[in-house]
């Protein structure tokens, strides 16, 4: 599904952030990335989704055999990539519903499919919003404006549920969520799990991984993936922090 090889990325102001990331996620798999603050987790997710301001100096990233790095952000989305932002953006003046419908239809159009009718869209969005406890008022309001931290995160998952991407990257979707919301969001994610869909879950806490069971856990530090293992790796981090792992590879 997602194939990242030796990815090197620097900022336009010449600061090297990613120093050779290798990551291979198969169809239907769930991978988690943990790692100290500033290690390059969000940068990886932004580079994959095509944000401006980064320069790829070496390496490659492919989604189902297609070079991601050559595409515009909207093309990557249409190809099936989705990023739930660590910090979702507030967009005053653009209604959440308008935003969702525009996005769904733009992707359908890009894939040569028919647009969803207004009535059908409304039915689907209401049903999905309900399972995430997103009320009608939040759908009407401008995108993320005045949403609480947790509401923003749930709104990200709603977008994911509507867009039905193939490769979902969740960047600290658990931060800011209360215990109940964490369960809701996890259920939302688990409902989407299937053989043709993969997940990359970036998190600092084992707790989320209790709900969304990963197949593989990676540790990122200083712009590289320094260790990979099974779910037990997340438990180790939870108990001992990163010191041992960092010492191990030093």
């Amino acid at each position: 599904m997602l194939e990242i090889k030796n990815l090197h990325v620097k900022l336009e102001e010449d600061k090297q952030i990613l120093k050779g990331v290798n990551l291979s996620i198969g169809a239907g798999e769930v991978h988690a990335i943990m790692g100290p603050n500033g290690s390059g987790k969000s940068t990886t997710s932004y580079v994959l989704s095509g944000r401006d301001g980064y320069e790829v100096t070496e390496g490659s990233a492919e989604l189902n055999g297609v070079d991601l790095l050559d595409m515009d952000p909207e093309e990557r989305a249409a190809a099936g990539l989705f990023l739930a932002f660590q910090y979702p953006v507030e967009i005053p003046g653009v209604g959440n519903m308008t935003f969702l419908r525009t996005a769904v239809n733009a992707q359908r159009k890009a894939r040569g499919e028919d647009e969803m009718s207004a009535g059908e869209f409304l039915k689907v969005v209401r049903a999905k919003a309900k399972t995430l406890k997103i009320d009608a008022d939040m759908l009407k309001r401008p995108v993320n404006v005045g949403f609480s931290g947790g509401e923003k995160k749930r709104n990200e998952i709603l977008q994911m549920a509507m867009l039905e991407p193939k490769m979902c990257i969740l960047d600290e979707t658990d931060s800011g969520l209360d215990v109940d919301a964490m369960k809701l969001v996890s259920e939302g994610v688990n409902a989407l799990r299937d053989e043709g869909r993969s997940f990359l879950v970036i998190t600092h806490y084992q707790r989320l991984l209790d709900h969304i069971k990963p197949d593989v856990v990676h540790i990122m530090a200083n712009g590289r993936i320094i260790k990979s293992g099974g779910p037990e790796l997340a438990l180790e981090v939870e108990h001992n922090g990163y010191a041992d792992i960092l010492a191990e590879i030093a």
Binding site: S49, G50, R51, D52, D72, P73, E74, R76, A77, A78, F82, L83, F85, P88, V89, I91, P92, G93, V94, T98, F99, T102, A103, V104, A106, Q107, A110, P142, V143, Q159, L163
Partner: protein
């Protein structure tokens, strides 16, 4: 202050090509008076403070600057679907055949020439009168010129809630037309009237509208200025508001090489409400100037100015807006916002927001900003699959939303929103 010789010469040069219309009735005195006042103030010049951001040359010059006629074929005419009474002017001349019958319940509608010929007419107390009041403290010579030389116009008096809008349609058919129209509107106590205006009108257009809104009356005005790229327009909207009256005006301007829209309002009755808003979009050789002067002269009145401009490829936007609160106008609530969204580095926005307050118990705020499309928002939308140009369109509409919200009628607001979307689709790279 004595006029400079240059200014006097420019004024005489302009007047030499014009003759005062001989209507015969009360209006002749108003015209003569306006001509005298105009001679005393002189035509606007490049050095005038009030014309610092907009060059008046082509609005003043004797020869009409030409403007190609633009036929709109890619969208239905604005307000087409709205049930309204249509009054058509072609190059500034009333066209009876193209217009609807001028009878409508709750309102009387006459041509200016007919109203002006009589000895006694209610319009006498408004024609040139609100314009004269609006000459202090800032002179507006083009409005005085209009009062003196207006060739046509419409005189409307609403005495009840008028069922449908009165729609003034300005067609432009001659590349050299120079139109001067002057409308007088009175909304009597308790009455309600909506006036629509659309179209380019002429190669060069000078228009004055004087509106008296009596106690408890309400006046709504929505206009769309026509897409002819080469047209020029100088318009003045003078309003006087009575107690608990409502005045709301919205203007859409898309294209036009030069537009100067002046709005001069006086809130003279307590608890009156005045809202003026505008959305302007320009691409390339576009210069748009909103000049607004609102005087609060009564207690507990509210005024709002909301002006938004979207500019690209070297287009220029200007905003000069003032709220003047007189000493007795306590509890004034004044709001003014002027914002430009520059879609590239070549475009510019020049703003002069002003507050002048002589009462102590007031709440007035103003703000002016110039910005670009927010990159974070753009990326967020794109990351959801929305193509960059469509995403930009959404953000531009979001930027304009506050101005559109000033239109109360949702059908008209939707019509205006469609125009904006159409413009955005046509003006993409």
């Amino acid at each position: 202050m004595a006029l400079s010789q240059a200014k006097m010469d420019a004024t005489e040069a302009r007047l030499s090509g014009l003759t005062l219309p001989e209507d015969g009735g009360w209006i002749s005195a108003s015209r003569a008076d306006a001509q005298t006042r105009l001679r005393a103030m002189g035509m606007p010049g490049r050095r005038d403070e009030y014309w610092k951001f907009t060059r008046p040359d082509t609005l003043v010059q004797t020869d009409t600057p030409q403007a190609a006629v633009f036929d709109v074929t890619d969208e239905a005419p604005v307000f087409d679907a709205i049930d309204r009474l249509k009054i058509v002017f072609v190059d500034g001349v009333f066209d009876a055949d193209a217009s609807d019958d001028l009878t409508l319940a709750g309102v009387s509608i006459e041509r200016l020439a007919d109203a002006g010929q009589t000895d006694i007419h209610w319009a006498k107390d408004i024609y040139g009168v609100l314009e004269t009041n609006g000459q202090v403290p800032v002179e507006r010579p083009l409005a005085a010129l209009n009062t003196a030389y207006a060739e046509d116009g419409i005189v409307i008096r609403a005495t009840a809630k008028v069922e449908k809008p009165v729609s003034l349609i300005y067609l432009h058919k001659s590349t050299t037309s120079d139109a001067t129209l002057h409308h007088v509107i009175k909304v009597e106590s308790g009455a309600e009237l909506t006036v629509l205006e659309n179209g380019p009108a002429a190669a060069r257009f000078n228009k004055v509208m004087e509106v008296e809104v009596a106690d408890n009356a309400s006046f709504h005005h929505i206009r769309a200025q026509g897409r002819d790229h080469e047209r020029r327009a100088a318009t003045h909207l003078f309003g006087r508001l009575g107690t608990e009256s409502v005045f709301k005006s919205f203007t859409l301007t898309a294209n036009g090489v030069l537009t100067r829209n002046e709005v001069v309002l006086e809130l003279t009755g307590d608890d009156a409400q005045a809202h003026v808003a505008g959305a302007a979009m320009g691409d390339g050789d576009f210069h748009h100037d909103d000049t607004v002067f609102i005087t609060h002269d009564a207690v507990n009145c509210e005024s709002r100015q909301v002006f938004k401009k979207v500019l690209r490829n070297g287009a220029t936007g200007v905003f000069q807006g003032k709220i003047l609160v007189k000493p007795d106008a306590q509890k004034t609530d004044g709001y003014q916002i002027s914002q430009a969204l520059l879609l590239d580095d070549d475009s510019q926005f020049l703003a002069k927001p002003e507050l002048e307050i002589y009462a102590d118990d007031v709440a007035c705020s103003h703000g002016s900003t110039t910005g670009a499309i927010d990159e974070e928002s753009l990326f967020y939308l794109q990351s959801r699959g929305v193509p960059a140009n469509e995403a930009q369109g959404l953000l531009v509409l979001a930027f304009l939303a506050e101005a559109i919200e000033e239109i109360d009628d949702s059908e008209i607001a939707d019509d205006i929103r469609d125009r904006l979307e159409g413009w955005l689709k046509r003006h993409r790279d």
